[in-house]
Amino acid sequence: METADKALLERKVRKAFQVLVLQRGRNPGVKGWELKRHLGRDYKQIVEVLSEDVSPLGMEVFEVKGPDGTDDTSRFLLRFKEPPSVSEAETSGIRIDDLAVLASTIAFVNSKQGRAARREVEHFLRDKFPKWRVEYSLDRYVKRGYLEQDDRALLHIGWRTRAEVDEKTLMTMILSRGSKEVTPP
């Protein structure tokens, strides 16, 4: 690669990093069309180079597909490549009960083909968690984008869960717990 081309690529990769890391709207991440505007038509290659560059730091660029499945509507995010340890998660101030509510809800909604009535989810969770925690946690996770609630009060898996959670691993972990330990793929 020529020096000028290399310099241009490095500049675009730096720009991609800045665009991905700086908060723009209410939600983290950048849509494909926005990256195209900042980096040009070959933005996906630049994002791939950036993903390799941040890999030694334990990060990766992750793509969450949009509703129509095109690159332009996809949301690109910078995220941890490997999950944090349980103690790291605990020291970040996250409550075990809250995570347990979220894990149970995601598993339940997925088992219901990706949608479940909120009333049904609340009823399911109340066997294990106090009523006030169930309502409070569900509201919070809807607000944060881990869950989505439509106008018919049906809960769906939210964009943030698609971005942050390896759902297959979660389901496998829940099913295998109590029988034998599995390591995430």
Binding site: L99, A107, R152, L170
Partner: protein
């Protein structure tokens, strides 16, 4: 409009809506049969209103077909697991195990939070448009009545909420309950004050505040998680008590 003609159509719409608003299996609706009903009824429909109901029924059926498509895709994916199996597993697993399963499949997003001109503008507009407290709930509660304040023990006795003897008896009972439940350990404050009714919950919180002020119980708060802990003390606490405001809300 002739209601008999529309009855079948309205029934189809109601059936589709019930499937759309629940997690029921969308294949419970026989689409082919419903389309034949619509086809059979169509020649009888002449008024614009009747035709609109017909098109609404078609729209609802197409929504159910979309749900059937999603249902098949979800079932074909490796994420599909029998809901009963999941319910059983979640019931059997400890909260710690569930949270560990989540953490091990979690890749948190890396992001920088900063004040942006847009955020500052939004904050400014919010504060500029925020009504004073006195005005805020005027529509719901009117401008009459008394502002929120504190009610003392003497006032509650005067109001006849309880007598002095009853209060002391209740206080003693609550202390015994707390002593049994905490048994030298910290227990969740909100779980402890929880009761069948909101009034009973407020009364428990009120009595507990007396125990704490009297040094018979102690309260610990965790500002990061928002959790509040309480513990009965076998010996009265010495030192200067600190005041903590705790909100008691309905349901939470």
């Amino acid at each position: 409009m002739d209601n008999d003609k529309l009855e079948d159509l309205l029934r189809i719409i109601a059936l589709c809506e019930s499937i759309e608003s629940s997690s029921a299996n969308p294949f419970e609706i026989d689409i082919k049969e419903k389309l034949l009903i619509l086809k059979h009824r169509l020649p009888e429909l002449t008024l614009i209103g009747e035709l609109l109901v017909d098109s609404e029924a078609m729209l609802e059926l197409s929504q159910v077909i979309k749900l059937q498509d999603q249902y098949l895709k979800a079932k074909a994916s490796s994420l599909y697991i029998d809901p009963l199996l999941i319910q059983l597993k979640v019931k059997l697993l400890a909260k710690q195990e569930l949270s560990e399963a989540f953490v091990k499949s979690w890749h948190p997003i890396v992001q920088l939070d900063q004040i942006s001109p847009r955020g500052l503008e939004r904050a400014f507009v919010y504060w500029r448009d925020l009504q004073p407290m006195a005005e805020r709930f005027k529509d719901e509660f009117g401008s009459y009545g008394v502002n929120p304040g504190t009610v003392g023990y003497a006032e509650l006795v005067e109001l006849g909420t309880f007598t002095r003897q009853q209060f002391e008896k209740d206080l003693k009972e609550l202390y015994q309950t707390l002593m049994q439940k905490s048994n030298g350990n910290w227990i969740d404050y909100r779980e402890f004050i929880d009761a069948n009714s909101f009034a009973a919950k407020v009364l428990r919180a009120y009595l507990l505040a007396f125990l704490v002020s009297d040094g018979q119980a102690s309260i610990r708060t965790e500002p990061l998680s928002g959790r509040v802990w309480v513990m009965a003390l076998t010996e009265k606490a010495a030192g200067v008590p600190k005041s903590v405001a705790l909100a008691v809300t309905e349901g939470a």
